[in-house]
Amino acid sequence: MRARVLIRPKAGILDPQGVAVERALPALGFEGVENVHVGRLVELDVAEEGQLAPLCEKLLANPLVEDYEIEIVS
């Protein structure tokens, strides 16, 4: 089973990468872009869907500072 895990900084936690990207955009002529957040994407094949949440909690994300979303691709 192919899955995608999207990991992003929790709402309310300062995301300096997002801020840096947001600040760079007006210089390229993109006005009005706000609330940019940078996370990461992990793609993986798993034997069972039930493995996904525990492995996210234990390794892929740090639940203290990050939220994650699991998407089953196929």
Partner: protein, 225 residues
Amino acid sequence: MKFGVLQFPGSCDEVDAVEAARHVGDAELIWHRDRDLQGADAIIVPGGFSYGDYLRAGAIARFSEAMESVIEFAREGGPVLGICNGFQVLCEAGLLPGALLPNVNLRFTSRQVRLTVEQGETAFTRACTPGRELSIPAKHSWGRYHAAPDTLAAIEHGGQVVFRYAPGENFNGSLNDIAGVTNEAGNVMGLMPHPEHAVHELTGGSKDGLCIFRSMRLAVEGVAA
């Protein structure tokens, strides 16, 4: 009295940690694949990098064989000091509250910082003078201490904030200027700046880091503040 200093693929401050610890006792390196802590009375998880710091700094190192033994050692009350990447590893291992995030300036920053000793009776500061400032080097890109509001209130209330950046020194954006924090029991401490680099005036800008290693020795020997 013997310090055990862990060594991960990517560690780069372990030799300085051994050198610093040898000012106050014996010290040996412990390879990350080794479960045997070699009878160490205190453990140092050193700085540098670990396993490429993929995903998050310290995220993979915390599952190493040596760390499994360190987690057990810490739960039994053994003193454990995590410096820089070691601090990140101890947070990821759940031995310390909170997490370290990328510096607010998004830059790797290397500079001397002044730290205030907030608690003078801990296993890591009983040989330091409370309220005194220590001048020691900091060098990291993931040093912004973060904890959820309730956790932050609990560690402040519980006296677990042991070191703070002095006014104007908090370049990484840590909450409440926190530079060093202990667990609730007080036997595990994480510190972002590097006391092991501040044991000679010539190379460290001061010898201020030594009081932390001396404190650990006193704690092992049961000498109070």
